[in-house]
Structure formats: C-alpha cells, structure tokens
C-alpha cells in the first residue's frame, strides 16, 4: 500500500516535472513561475497589501456607504485598476498556493528536515481563504451578503455559539456599522496573521526567495493589471436582506466553499475541509523513508572559515567556539534536524581540496554516505584505468540528468548528492590527473532539489564565490551544463561538444595529458 502510494506520487512528480520543462521551453527555467510558486504567492500578497491599503483609505466603513464608495471606483480607470488588481491578485495567490502545495507534496517535501516548513505552511491556507472571503463582505453588495450569510450559517453548524451568528443577517436592522468592524478585523486582522505565519514558514531556510526574479514579477504584475482594465470587477446590487441574491457572478477560486455547502450540507462541508487539513497536518508523521545521513564536522580539519555556514540552504550550520580554545577560532556545528544531507557544505569547505597530500582525505565537514575522500579515490582509479587517449570526467547530480545515459569508454561519470557537493578544485585535479576535459552538470537554474546547489556550483566555477575555481585551471577544458531530470539530451550534447573541443586541442604537459599525481 505504502509502495503503491509512493509510486503514484513519483508518477505525479514525473508529470509535474514534464510540465515544468514545457514551461521552461517558453519562459526559461529562471523565469518559470512553476519554479517560484512560493515567491509568486508572496508577490500576489504584496500586491494585495499595497492595493488594499489604498482601498481601505477610500472605503466608507458603514452599511450605507460601503457599497457606494467601492462602486464609485468603477468610474475611474485608476479605481478599476486598483480594485481589479486587488481581486485578481487574491485569485493569483490562491492559484500559486494550490500549485505550491501540490508541487511540494509530489516532491515529498513534507518530511524530515522540511517538516517544520510544511507544518507552518498548512495554516496559511486557512488564513488565505478566511481573509479572502472576508474581503467580499466589506463591499456589502449582494455577493457580500450571500457570502456573509453563508459563512455565518456554516459557522453555526458547529456547536459553538449559543446564539446563531446568522441572526446578524436576518433583517436589515440587524446589520449595523459596528458589524463592519468585525468584517475589517476578519479581512485585515487575518491578513496580518498570514504575514506573521509566512515569517515562520521561511524560518528554516536561508536566503529565502521572497520575490520572483524581476522579469517574472513584472510579467505577472502586467498580466494582472491588464486583466483589471480589460475585465474590471463590478459590484452586484447593494445588499438587501429582504431578498435572496439569486444570480451571482461568483469568484469560484475564492468562494467555492459556499456552493460546496449549498450542494451538500454545512456538516459535510466542515467534514471535508477538516479532513483535508487533518490529512495535511498528518502527512509528515506518516511512515517515511529513512532520512539521509547528515553532514559530519571534523574539528581537527575545520578552520572555522564559515563558508559552509554561508552556503547551507537550510541554515543547518552554526558557528561555535572551537574546542581547541584558540581565541577567535570557530567550529562549524551541524543541527541534524535541519540538515538535508545535500553535501553543499562539503563542496564549500577549503579542506575538501583533493590536492592535499594526506593518504586519506579527511575534510572539515563531509557526508558520511559519500565522502570527498571516496570521490578522490574513485576519480583517480577511474582515470588511471581508462584506456581512452583523452578521457573525460563528468560530475553530475543524483537529482539531475542521469549520467548513466552518457556512458562511454572515454567517460568517467560521478553522481554527487548535489552538484554543489563538488569542490571546484576537483576540476583542476581531474585535469592534472589525466582527464582531457571535465563536464560539470548541476540541475537547471532554480531547479535544485536543495534550493541553492546549482547556484553555488555556477558561482564557484565562474569564480564569483568561494571556493573559486583557481585561475590556473584551463577553462577551455571545462564545460558546465545545466541538466535536470529529463535533460539527458542536454547532457549528451554538452559532452559531445566537450569531446570535440578537447580532440582539437594540443596535449599540455601535466594538464590534459596522462600525468600521475601523488
């Protein structure tokens, strides 16, 4: 049963990744909204806050004046733009939220070190819908009347209140200006809770991408603005409690729960929503595969440089005073609950350089399941045993394009926990040890399973970030291909290009020719 569920989820993930690649084809992976769903949601929230602040200034918070003040906006293009952006940004937020949840679920991101982010994200779904539904009441048109009454009737289904909440909407006299204070509390108060909850949600990741890349942000804002002008939001007739609003232009993205209740019953609607939330909360506690082994620090080799601290995508590393008691000397400490086991820290460690003479390469921070020493030994043995005149070395990623598809007599390939696990010095080491060319293949931009692996790999190899590729490394013998899962053709093309390039190069003493290195 558990295996079937895992297989189903894997198929879902494969399908999702195929759609992501399709979007990449048009937008490029860097500007693909499917790779920035959380940030797209935050952008929508920012638009909501900005437009909502102006709307609140213009809103007459009274039974008589609310509808009139909002309806007056329709007379001016700026008013239509403001109101349209406010509504459509809410729709965009819900869509981004739904897709974000689906993506993280399919990728199995509810478990292990991501459990905190998952659990703090689930309540945000509730906050988003409560704040969004509450917004419709402020206009106090027939749609607001229907939504407020339906919500009150829904809450009354819970045996909680001695007096039914729906009595507040029985007759016109029952609705007072004071009730608008409650509406505002629901709409604005819960929105503030949402912002506060978001802060918790990103607590356990370092360098959270709060906003999407500028070009994507601009595209989304333009789309919402165009929509607001081309398809302006119009109010229904003012609320009249003596009649039932019959024909409603319902926002199904935000208000679907009301028809759900009408079609079933308030109790069943509660059961469905409650079970949905319970399932989401329970997911991280269901039986899970064993978590990946976490990074291990070796105090004797850790010089306290803080590179691993800076590069860790999940803030799993803190710096503490070194036990050798030298003043100012620091030591990395790994929090096993936060560690993703990605190995990016090992790739950042200066002691991970393979040029060290020690027979066994013990680094300051390393992954027990895939040590830097083992990588050096495998690389050395593989190049030594190659019979090719110009052997090639490929460093790939376990979560990216499969290197098994490009196996050839002249190719030695190594799949790392993440491309970010590769210390840049290994490129030079491989070339000095006899490789004719080296191909490094992290995942697509913004497609790293561990968030920052591909970014740090690119920056290190482009000499923009420590540890940098040394200036002595022959750049023309190095290729860098961004190849995520399903990008095997990209990997093959990059390898073919590198092979062609190194064949045309003259042999260099000690670099690119077979040269034994201690």
């Amino acid at each position: 049963m558990q295996q079937e569920a895992a297989s189903l989820r894997q198929r879902g993930l494969n399908g999702w990744q195929a759609v992501e690649r399709l979007f990449d084809t048009a937008l490029g992976s860097r500007f693909n909204p499917l790779r920035h769903l959380g940030a797209v949601g935050v952008l929508a929230l920012l638009l909501l806050v900005a437009s909502g602040t102006i709307l609140y200034i213009l809103l007459d918070t009274s039974v008589e004046g609310a509808h009139r003040s909002i309806d007056a906006l329709a007379a001016h293009p700026a008013g239509r733009l403001l109101r349209g952006i406010h509504r459509y940004a809410a729709d965009a937020l819900v869509i981004a939220l739904g897709l974000h949840l689906l993506r993280e679920f399919l990728a199995g991101h509810e478990r292990s070190f991501r459990r905190f982010s998952w659990l703090t994200g689930v309540p945000l779904i509730g906050f988003v819908f409560v704040a969004a539904i509450g917004g419709f009441w402020l206009n106090w048109d027939q749609l607001g009347q229907y939504s407020a009454t339906a919500t009150a009737e829904w809450i009354d289904a819970l045996p909680m209140l001695a007096t039914p909440l729906a009595r507040n909407f029985l007759v016109a006299d029952a609705v007072s200006d004071r009730l608008f204070s409650l509406f505002i509390f629901v709409h604005i108060g819960v929105s503030l809770l949402l912002v506060f909850g978001l802060w918790f949600h990103v607590q356990r990741i370092s360098r959270p991408a709060v906003l999407p890349p500028r070009r994507l942000s601009l595209g989304l804002v333009c789309i919402l603005a165009a929509l607001a002008l081309a398809w302006p939001i119009a109010s229904h007739a003012p609320a009249t409690l003596a009649t039932v609003p019959t024909l409603l232009r319902l926002d199904w993205i935000l208000l679907f729960v009301h028809p759900l209740m009408d079609a079933t019953s308030p109790g069943l609607a509660w059961a469905l929503v409650g079970c949905g939330f319970l399932a989401l909360f329970a997911l991280p506690f269901l039986p899970q595969p064993a978590p990946a082994p976490v990074a291990v620090v070796d105090p004797a080799n850790c010089n306290g440089c803080q590179r691993c601290f800076a590069d860790c995508p999940y803030a799993a590393i803190t710096m503490v005073p070194h036990p050798n008691q030298r003043i100012g000397r620091l030591l990395a400490r790994v929090d096993p609950d936060l560690c993703a086991g990605c190995g990016i820290c090992a790739g950042s460690c200066p002691s991970s350089t393979p040029f060290r003479r020690a027979a066994e390469l013990v680094t300051g921070i390393d992954m027990p399941q895939s040590t830097i020493d083992r990588l050096r030994r495998s690389l050395r043995e593989s190049i030594a045993s190659s019979t090719a005149s110009r052997p090639l070395v490929v460093f790939g990623c376990r979560h990216g394009a499969s290197t098994a598809r490009i196996e050839a007599a002249d190719v030695s390939s190594f799949e790392l926990l993440c491309a970010g696990q590769l210390p840049p010095a290994f490129v030079e080491y491989a070339l000095r040890d006899g490789a004719a060319g080296v191909l490094v293949a992290p995942c697509r931009e913004c497609g790293c399973e561990f968030r920052l692996g591909e970014r740090w790999t690119i920056d290190r190899l482009l000499r923009r970030r420590e540890p940098r590729l040394r200036a002595a490394a022959p750049e023309d013998r190095l290729a860098l291909a961004l190849a995520g899962k399903g990008d095997e053709p990209v990997l093959a093309a990059a390898l073919a290009g590198l092979r062609k390039r190194v064949r045309s190069m003259p042999a260099q003493p000690g670099l690119g020719s077979r040269h034994h290195h201690a």
Binding site: L170, W252, I253, D262, V490
Partner: protein, 177 residues
Amino acid sequence: MPERDAIISARRGPLAWLGQIILYGAFAAFIAVFSHWPTYRHLGDNEALIKISFVHTGKPVSDCVQQTAEELAKLPPNMRAPTRCPRERSPVVVAVDVDDVNVLTHTAPPSGLSKDGASAVYRRLVVPAGERRLSVRLSDDVRARDKPYERETTLALVPGQVLVIDFDTGQGSIKLQ
C-alpha cells in the same frame, strides 16, 4: 569558461515568445473566467425563502418550591431564601406548516451547562413563491400550563423574498418580517 555565456542549458524553443503569450494568456484567462463564471443561482427562479430564527428562554421546567423552616435551618445563613426555583428551562418547540403541511418541527434545547440559557433556532425553508397559508406554533413550557404561541396567516411570497419568522419576547408573540 568561465563566462556565463558558456553555460550549456536546454534551449528555449524557436517559438518561445509564442509560448510565453500562450502561458501568460492561459493564466489570465483562467483567472478572468473562474472569477466571474459560471454564474451561480442558489435559489430557484420561482422560490422564496423562509427563515425561522429566534432566541428565546423557555419557562422553568418546574414550579418554585417554598422551603420549610427545617430545610432553611440546614442552609448557611446567606443562602436561606424562602423559595427555591429550578434553574433549568424548558426546551422550545417550534412547528411550521405551509399550506397545512408540516414542514418543520424542531425542539431547541436550552443552552448552558445547567440548561438555564436561552434556546436558539435558525432554520431555512425554501418554498415555492405565491400565495401560501402559514401556520407557526411555538411552545416554551414543558408543564404545558400555557397555551402555545400561535400565528396563522396567508401571505403572497414573491420569488426571491426572504420571510423571517421571529419571536418577540417583549410582546410574547410570533412576528413575521
């Protein structure tokens, strides 16, 4: 290398711009359509709505009892009230007939842990619009000492109308709004 241009990646298709227009357009169309359409009708064309709602405290479940001198003597001095009244209230029973057909009979229990609070009711009844004979009965005393409150009337309900049946505690009568 190391120039950013040297990085090999999946190329964007020759019709990438067209793809962008389609994807952004699909996103906009999805929002535009489902934020307005399909229009929703939660009450039929020729229907009206009756809401039966009241908050009313029923009569005590039993009479007050005069305490004897012996009983009073057993109590602390500050609790020696000559009569002892039950806190518990009667549930309120409401029945509604439309065109002489019973459409609702509901017993609303008193609220509170000691059952000494008000009984509350909120029910919706969808009825065909037109002339309807309405009969409402409300009983709030399990001792059946008083006659139930009653109201009978004939009303012309227009489509989409909301008729509220409430109880006016001050007047002690059923009111229609």
